[in-house]
């Protein structure tokens, strides 16, 4: 029943030279960190959106493609690290909300999708 602190909203909206990004931050509560099952769930969810979605962990220099399971696994994000998500595109807002929820709810098993 671990619930991460979700920080998302208008105040997180930032604008960069590349256009408007929607961003979100969430603490990774998953017991073993960002491992195979969470990574698969996260990338599967990310792929449902048209937006370009990037994530990074613990303020690393590089942002990586949230739709690549190899890259998400390579984050090696441990438990309690802060996952940052940024998205660009029409459904960027919905994507960030959905992904933050997924991490905050500790990657719940959902019914048939």
């Amino acid at each position: 029943m671990a619930v991460g602190r979700t920080m998302i909203g208008q105040d997180m909206l930032e604008t960069s030279a590349n256009g408007p990004f929607v961003t979100g931050k969430v603490r990774l509560e998953h017991a073993v960190g960002m491992h195979a099952r969470p990574a698969v769930k996260l990338t599967k969810l990310a792929k449902r959106f048209q937006a370009q979605i990037s994530i990074r962990a613990s303020e690393a220099a590089d942002w990586i493609n949230a739709k690549s399971v190899a890259k998400v696994m390579a984050l090696r994000a441990p438990r309690n690290s802060i996952i940052e998500i940024k998205a660009l595109g029409e459904d960027a807002q919905a994507a960030v909300v959905a992904l933050v929820d997924l991490v905050a709810a500790d990657f719940p098993d959902v019914g048939p999708s």
Binding site: V32, G33, H35, A36, R37, A39, V40, T43, K44, N65, K67, S68, V69, A70, K71, M73, A74, R76, P78
Partner: protein, 540 residues
């Protein structure tokens, strides 16, 4: 080669790779992932990989559906990776540059596997086996090999085109059996494994049809298929003669130590794994001249951790008591590839990054072994040797890593010490510049030494007549090494196949060797051979 024995059954003759007799069900297997494929153009290769990936996805999805639950979720990771364009893109880019699909795929996965293996976290390390599975599945499809493993009954005569050592190790030989290879070579690594296990093996049989039952005669180098009673009778008589002659040779073992011209000849044994010590004759050995450690790399998808390795080394030292035990560090590479460890795609793996070269390039893996050995060193009479040493600097680099491992363990309050360090003499340069090495002992690896001196790939059956270990050039290097040892008081032994071949014994003794290490099944025969040469009467 086909030869007719009579109308009832078919008989084929090949070359002997390991003596002994086997009678049992005839099982033909594919050579698995080692099968060669001829790559097409980059476009064709890219298409082949796309198709193999699609087929793999479908297969895994099917497996996941059947497995359900936790297993299904783990398999999902494999499927996700197959759908990961970021991951696939560089693979296709490599193919575009002319690399065959299977090599491109393997090296991309090997990189990931190595990465996961080196992770500090056990959970991540465990993922490397998923990736190994995925790598082999796709490569298997690309190379057109069947995925479903053939069940091999106990005591079977296993027939294959050729067999990689890893496949040999997967087969359960505890019930006996034999190996009949259509190609293959008596000097290959798999032949060496067969001799060590006492499994009869015949190679270069050409082509043979399917059959239900077979007789394999490792001495006569014959394979008889669906034999008639007229064939079985003589076969069983030959088998009985073989058994009796082995029994009489075994009586020699209980006699005092072997001597030659009044000099004591020390006979040690080679082991490939701890279970080899269970051989009835092992107890008569003067020690262990070569413990190979590659078995630790086979079977499991993971490089075993320090504790697992330590337990294996410790078990052997406890068995040996006061007797010396020489353990050789990982000798991977060449014809002994280890996924995630050895480098793929070398044009000449025998001349590539193998043995100590590989270990020094992978201190992460090497250090774990050195730590386990340093801990074992306090438990008995341990010596450690490094394979494929070319330069004195390699021995010193390994010694430095070893000393650091000892220091680290001692700082952690764990008992450890630096054992005596020696080298394998198998690179001709090392034999020629033997006085360069500050080694505590030398062990001549005659198989590789002969292969390099004679410029013959020992796994190439077509060169079998050329790769003669009794060639004067090979003997010259052995004699020089022995002479150097004699002058400087450093012990020199020989642990290659020559030591286990009675025909080579006189030459080896004349070269000045007084210490030989052989597989336990050959111990009796070699002791008998020395006794016959030396007039018999032991002095010890």
């Amino acid at each position: 080669m086909k030869m007719r024995v009579d109308a009832a059954g078919l008989a084929y003759r090949g070359r002997t790779a390991s003596i002994g007799f086997a009678r049992g069900p005839f099982i033909r297997i594919g050579s698995g992932a080692d099968r060669e494929r001829s790559p097409g153009s980059p476009t064709e290769e890219a298409l082949a990989l796309r198709e193999a990936i699609q087929l793999s996805s479908a297969q895994i999805a099917e497996l996941a559906a059947a497995a359900g639950g936790e297993a299904a979720q783990i398999l999902e990771f494999q499927v996700a990776l197959l759908e990961d364009e970021d991951f696939l893109e560089p693979v296709f880019a490599t193919i575009d540059h002319g690399v065959p699909a299977d090599s491109a795929w393997s090296s991309a996965l090997d990189e990931q596997i190595a990465d996961y293996r080196s992770a500090s976290d056990e959970y991540l390390q465990a993922r490397s086996s998923d990736l190994t599975d995925l790598r082999d599945r796709v490569v298997g499809i690309l190379r057109g090999s069947e995925r479903q493993p053939v069940r091999i009954p106990s005591g079977a005569i296993v027939c294959a085109d050729d067999l990689p050592p890893s496949r040999f190790l997967e087969i359960d030989w505890s019930g006996g059996g034999g190996l009949a290879l259509l190609r293959g070579s008596p000097t290959s690594h798999v032949a060496m494994l067969a001799r060590a296990r006492g499994i009869p093996m015949v190679v270069q049989l050409g082509s043979v049809p399917d059959a239900a039952v077979a007789l394999l005669d490792g001495e006569g180098a014959t394979l008889e298929l669906d034999p008639s009673a007229e064939q079985i009778g003589p076969f069983e008589r030959r088998r009985e003669i073989h058994r009796k002659s082995r029994a009489s040779a075994r009586a020699v073992l209980r006699r005092p130590a072997a001597t030659w011209h009044g000099e004591r000849i020390r006979l040690l044994i080679n082991i490939q794994r701890v279970a080899d010590l269970e051989h009835a004759d092992a107890q008569y050995a003067d020690g262990i001249g070569l413990m190979r450690t590659e078995f630790l790399l086979a079977g499991s998808d993971e490089i075993p951790d320090e504790e697992t390795q330590y337990r294996a080394y410790d078990a052997v030292l406890r068995w040996a008591g006061q007797r010396p035990v020489t353990i050789r560090t990982f000798d991977a590479g060449g014809d002994k590839p280890v996924p995630g460890f050895t480098s793929d795609g070398e044009a000449n793996p025998f001349l590539g990054v193998r043995g100590i070269r590989l270990c020094l390039s992978r201190p992460d893996i090497f250090t774990v072994q050195l730590r386990a050995l340093a801990r074992a060193a306090v438990r008995g009479n341990l010596k450690v040797m490094f394979p494929m040493v070319t330069l004195a600097g390699e021995l010193e680099a390994a010694r430095k890593l070893f000393a650091e491992a000892v220091k680290g363990l001692q700082a952690e309050g764990i008992g450890a010490m630096l054992p005596e360090l020696g080298i394998m003499v198998e690179v001709p340069a090392a034999a020629l510049a033997i006085s360069d090495f500050q080694a505590a002992f030398f062990s001549i690896g005659s198989n590789d030494l002969a292969q390099y001196v004679l410029a013959c790939d020992r796994s190439n059956g077509a060169l079998a007549t050329l790769i003669d270990p009794l060639h004067p050039a090979v003997l010259e290097l052995i004699a020089r090494t022995a002479e150097h040892g004699r002058r400087s008081g450093i012990s020199v032994s020989l642990c290659g196949d020559m030591a286990g071949d009675p025909r080579c014994i006189p030459a080896l003794l004349r070269c000045g060797l007084r210490e030989l290490s052989v597989n336990a099944p050959a111990l009796a025969q070699i002791k008998q051979a020395i006794d016959l040469l030396g007039g018999g009467c032991g002095s010890g």
